[in-house]
Symmetry: C5
Subunit: 367 residues, 5 copies
Amino acid sequence: MRRRHQRRRARPGTSPGTLTIDPGAPKPRIRVTAYRPEKVVEHEVDGVGALRELLGRWPVVWVNVDGLGDEATLRELGELFGMHRLALEDVVNVVQRPKVEPYDEHLFIISRMALAEQHHPTEQVSLVLGENYVLTFQERPGDCFEAVRERIRQGQGKLRRAGPDYLAYALLDAVVDSYFPALEQLHEQLERLEERIFAEPDEQTAAEVQRIKGDLRHLRRAAWPHRDAIGLMLREESRFITPATRVYLRDVVDHAQHVNDLLTTYYELGLDLMNAYLSSVSNRMNEVMKVLTVMAAIFIPLSFLAGIYGMNFDPAASPWNMPELATRYGYPVLLLVMALIGIGLLLYFRRRGWVGRSRTRRRWNKH
Amino acid sequence: MRRRHQRRRARPGTSPGTLTIDPGAPKPRIRVTAYRPEKVVEHEVDGVGALRELLGRWPVVWVNVDGLGDEATLRELGELFGMHRLALEDVVNVVQRPKVEPYDEHLFIISRMALAEQHHPTEQVSLVLGENYVLTFQERPGDCFEAVRERIRQGQGKLRRAGPDYLAYALLDAVVDSYFPALEQLHEQLERLEERIFAEPDEQTAAEVQRIKGDLRHLRRAAWPHRDAIGLMLREESRFITPATRVYLRDVVDHAQHVNDLLTTYYELGLDLMNAYLSSVSNRMNEVMKVLTVMAAIFIPLSFLAGIYGMNFDPAASPWNMPELATRYGYPVLLLVMALIGIGLLLYFRRRGWVGRSRTRRRWNKH
Amino acid sequence: MRRRHQRRRARPGTSPGTLTIDPGAPKPRIRVTAYRPEKVVEHEVDGVGALRELLGRWPVVWVNVDGLGDEATLRELGELFGMHRLALEDVVNVVQRPKVEPYDEHLFIISRMALAEQHHPTEQVSLVLGENYVLTFQERPGDCFEAVRERIRQGQGKLRRAGPDYLAYALLDAVVDSYFPALEQLHEQLERLEERIFAEPDEQTAAEVQRIKGDLRHLRRAAWPHRDAIGLMLREESRFITPATRVYLRDVVDHAQHVNDLLTTYYELGLDLMNAYLSSVSNRMNEVMKVLTVMAAIFIPLSFLAGIYGMNFDPAASPWNMPELATRYGYPVLLLVMALIGIGLLLYFRRRGWVGRSRTRRRWNKH
Amino acid sequence: MRRRHQRRRARPGTSPGTLTIDPGAPKPRIRVTAYRPEKVVEHEVDGVGALRELLGRWPVVWVNVDGLGDEATLRELGELFGMHRLALEDVVNVVQRPKVEPYDEHLFIISRMALAEQHHPTEQVSLVLGENYVLTFQERPGDCFEAVRERIRQGQGKLRRAGPDYLAYALLDAVVDSYFPALEQLHEQLERLEERIFAEPDEQTAAEVQRIKGDLRHLRRAAWPHRDAIGLMLREESRFITPATRVYLRDVVDHAQHVNDLLTTYYELGLDLMNAYLSSVSNRMNEVMKVLTVMAAIFIPLSFLAGIYGMNFDPAASPWNMPELATRYGYPVLLLVMALIGIGLLLYFRRRGWVGRSRTRRRWNKH
Amino acid sequence: MRRRHQRRRARPGTSPGTLTIDPGAPKPRIRVTAYRPEKVVEHEVDGVGALRELLGRWPVVWVNVDGLGDEATLRELGELFGMHRLALEDVVNVVQRPKVEPYDEHLFIISRMALAEQHHPTEQVSLVLGENYVLTFQERPGDCFEAVRERIRQGQGKLRRAGPDYLAYALLDAVVDSYFPALEQLHEQLERLEERIFAEPDEQTAAEVQRIKGDLRHLRRAAWPHRDAIGLMLREESRFITPATRVYLRDVVDHAQHVNDLLTTYYELGLDLMNAYLSSVSNRMNEVMKVLTVMAAIFIPLSFLAGIYGMNFDPAASPWNMPELATRYGYPVLLLVMALIGIGLLLYFRRRGWVGRSRTRRRWNKH
């Protein structure tokens, strides 16, 4: 059915810092946003050279790279910002778990944002926080940062007056918060499935629960490490983060923990639904069996009686041979006996609750 | 069926401190209770201005805000009490997990109280504990603080003689204790369902167990963080909490842990009941199958025999053709053979425990 | 079926220290045991006043209160021994989790002993350890301390020569050890049920496993915190506990951990048995289905054949109409064909293992 | 079926140090092994007195006591080696969990070795490590120390040149390693059962998986604490353990952790097998049901047709009464219709995969 | 079916340092790679003697031993490199869990690499990191180090300029990364099985899921300890690891954690699939049962009616005896009644969703 995008890892044992460029990855598009309280410039640049003159002149320069499909550009960027070869390798190898690594010249942060799209549920966002810049790498265009950009442009709020650490906070906050809509969507689907499971459990319902559980597992693997990574960043007093920003990062840690709580709860709900499904299927089979049993148990003995009197023993040969056949009330008496047996069995099954009652109750539940 | 109230979160990436007011939220109603050992005043105020003159004049001023539906009022309150923009955002965004955050001018505490109502199982209570005031925000009117108010009015006990930290303790205590009646109610429902599961397991029983498990998961997510948050508040020696009150807070931590224990136990009970339900349904199907099998296995061979002697082979055409039909005792002997076969099979099934015994035992269990 | 005794908690928000006396609780009975190495006195006292003169005169005074049904007496006791209002509230509110709380004048310990009785599986024992006294509160008469009393009376062993901390140890030891017989009883029941589950799984077996799992959950909730509470008491160097007694308390921590291990193991066994039960029920249904299928699959085609030759097509009307009926060996040949079909099907089912073999194996297992 | 040996604990509340001798326990047999690098003596002694003269004269004296059935001997030993009353009680009460307790005069270690025998899966080994002796207590003769004894006798390796701490290490190492063969045996049994579960799942298979899971739970309870106990012994710098021996003990901790890993893995395998069993039984029932359904669904309509033409409506009474019976090709046409219906249903069932295909696939799997 | 290679452990209690050589193990093949920035030599040596002259002359000497089948060679190697007897025993006893042990002269590291081969899913790699050498032991030829060798030969990257700690890092990195392809392969198999489970669940599917879960358990046991072991190596500031290499090792810890995350996720997926399988089998049985029930419930009453009119009550004997048989429209009326009953039941079953609808939905799902 649906397949997750398979990324190629480097062969085990290759040199660290080897950039294994995915041939299908989009070419890098570099967008620069430089701002100070009173001004903001925002444009796309063609080469890395154009960045050099901006850096150092503005209090905050945000370089955003969309697409990781060109080794030369990435290497130039890495050189310009003094990135460690392992960090650059992690940027390209987009299957990393979120982490924060302190280097001498900058903080290196890997995070994963949740996407609404089905085939790319999460996308790696690498972030380099330096003295006067923030450098972000994304796998492809389209992200959850539009609101941040708008805040920079508008110049309202604290963002334009604060340093690059506050920008990094704003981006991480957007990344962590991107899980909430994704989770709410899955939760709504699970709640809709829960209703269907008791109304009409079919295989499709089970398959959808399984799919959502798979998505939750995937999101959990991506979201889980954020809390620890950002929490660690808070504890290890980095010179790149001002005390004023720490309060805000504490808030991101809280949100990350909230995401984790929700993931746990929803996954448990998913497990629960599979059990409910199983029990609903069992129940339905029970209903089917009861109908079969009642039908068979009533008519099989009656058919046997009819079979008895359909035998061809010759009454002429012996007075012992089926004398009932020639009695005056043989036929109506037999019909009466059959009716009594049928009604008796029906009453017995009704008393055991196999007929009538259970169905009535179900109908009552719907209203 | 039932749907939990869905709250809108702010879009990921919006500026921290943005107050996303839920248009359906009730307008704020501000109630002030100011007291000293010998006196208490309690009234509703219209605007934030009226608060200004009370603060500082009384040793303890408790400002309670019911309803979060007006941005201006909330901003004014935030300004008056020097609240951080993130704190104010958390007050409005009522899907926070319980936490305690120390600020310079006050302690900021988020907690969730359990409600008896089905569609709003928990409600966020934000609490700001300052030098001489306690400020509480609730989502809507109606809370678990009535007993605390009564204690203030009556002036008995320690409450009126103690500071705002003791009031904060009393409120947190009420919040944590609000889980006990909610949990007891769910526990009673589970125990009632447990009895029904073995007596007459139907789909409604399973659906109710599922619903209660969902409620427990919801309560757990709300209750769980209280213990750690309040425990942290105890460990981080805050200047807003006097040593005398610490003993009391220790007690709240104990109660929070007790709530967590109960949640774990009841959730396990819920899991258990689903298993019991499955096994009960299986068992019942087994009973149904036994009846079908016994009926079919006894009458199918007998019907076959009757079918044999209902065949129309022509005795006149050959002496080999069904000579039994014309024998003297053919019919009664066949009936006897049929009775023997039927009784034999019945005895066999009784020996295997498929007839009689199991039902007797069940009836005995009911008495 | 069985219901656990429901205790009323105080309404959330009531003043700490409010004593919510359960109207059905037995009236307090106060027993005093005072001893020094060479002497012991033991009697019941009517009022709290009588205690005053004993305290301070004996190295160890043990005041045991059975029953919590009278507020005045409890308040007097609390005053005499300088108990904190929260501690006294915890004594009365008998749904506390075990804990140890250091106060200035004494250690306050809450523990729960296991009882053999079904409707009160555990009972709260509150213990106040002071300089020269031990004060214990129990919910009702009857406890696991008889052996300790005997040791005091006999004066053998270390007990009469040691201080009140050693007495407190002896009592806690008795409380923790009270779980072992309760657990062994449940374990024996589980082992008996395990045997029955494979021999004859009926609904009662499942219900009993569920009941025992409920008891284990209850005991676990009561027992679990002992280890941490007493361990904490050991670590926090309290002046009420002499170094000599610490070695003994370490032993109680070990026993508490052992109780926890057993509870975990037995609960897992309980979960296991429910699975075994489900699989056993499935298996039995399989057996039932096989019998039905074999019977039906053999006789249904044979009956069809008999039905064919019971049709009334008129041989006189056409030579094509059932000429077999008038052949010389029609009847015996048909019987032979039927026998061959029946035997063939029987052999086929035997080869698939649906007939005979499985039953033989089961019988062999019993011997 | 099989019952684990039930040991009697002391009644809760009895004096610590009370030795509750199991009347069925074997009488103590004391074996002494004393050695120095160049010499070794090894003999059985009758009374404790004989030990006194050996102690202090040899660098290492190993006193091994097999059997705990005589209080006097144990008390004498306890006195001779200065054992604490609680330690001696733990030696006798052979249901302890592994632990290490430092005393002033020696280290007291309780461990449990795994036995191959079914009714005594583990046996308590208590070990007292003093300045120049090792004292071990076992429940009964027969242990995993034979290889250690051989090493002492042979005098190869480090053992004879090292102190009592190295001997204690060698014994603990033997105890921990005794779990490997026991675990391998259970693992092999589980693997054999796994093969059987898909080939022919019967109740015995399930019961055996349950038994092995029970054994694993028992072993886990016994093995689990070794790692922490010995790890603690390493961390708490005891004067009885030389630095040279610490490296060796680190190895025992590793082995203990390895045992724990294996126990977890095998227990999960056991849980898995029960699920596989359930699914295999379900599958088999499915097969049975398909056969029944195909047989019944094909022949029931055909029998109905035959029944129609077996009715006795009188063609003479009316031309509407079963005129088919007298047509020329009535009988062969009916047979043809029946054959077509039968073949049609068969093809339908074959297309749904209920006939033929599944069986072919299964046969292919076996080769 | 498939059996994992069983290795013989030493008998519990044997002397530490005893080398229990597996008689089937391949003979050791020693390959030496010595390099400095400008040069590299690489050859196979026959005896240990040849190594002596290389050591100390080159900044890095990598001695790789493939095969552990000769005690003398191993002992010589152990002596040459000053290995502890316990370390050497661990090298030979290839069932160790990964660990890092600091010795005075070197770091001793045990790791396990994942192999693609089915019968040897993991292989132990022991690594000794000294001042100027790395010594590695493998169970048999063939490893994941080919890329590392190539990097040494090519002299590109940092490897040839760095010390032995960097080589050790490169090897550990290759070991940890060897799990990724193995895991991806298992994940792909699980995803393929997931699709099959809902399309056509047969026993083989379940057996394969079980097999993959077994492999995941095996890999987990092997992979799990790497993270802690290498993390410990980072924390314990060893003199054999330069600060520059620490950054790289931090990356290996990250990868190890990522492997653990994947193992957890995939194992949960495996558990999930077994549940999905069970529910799919149940569902399919439900379908089968519905067909049986519909067929039986429609035709059994009709056959009974046919049976009634096949009875031989003699109309001549009494006017009450089956007068219908001689009525003008008896036969067609009966056929009509039968048709109405059949159609009525069919409509009833269609309304309950047992006929037609469910199948349509399934077909729709496929497109």
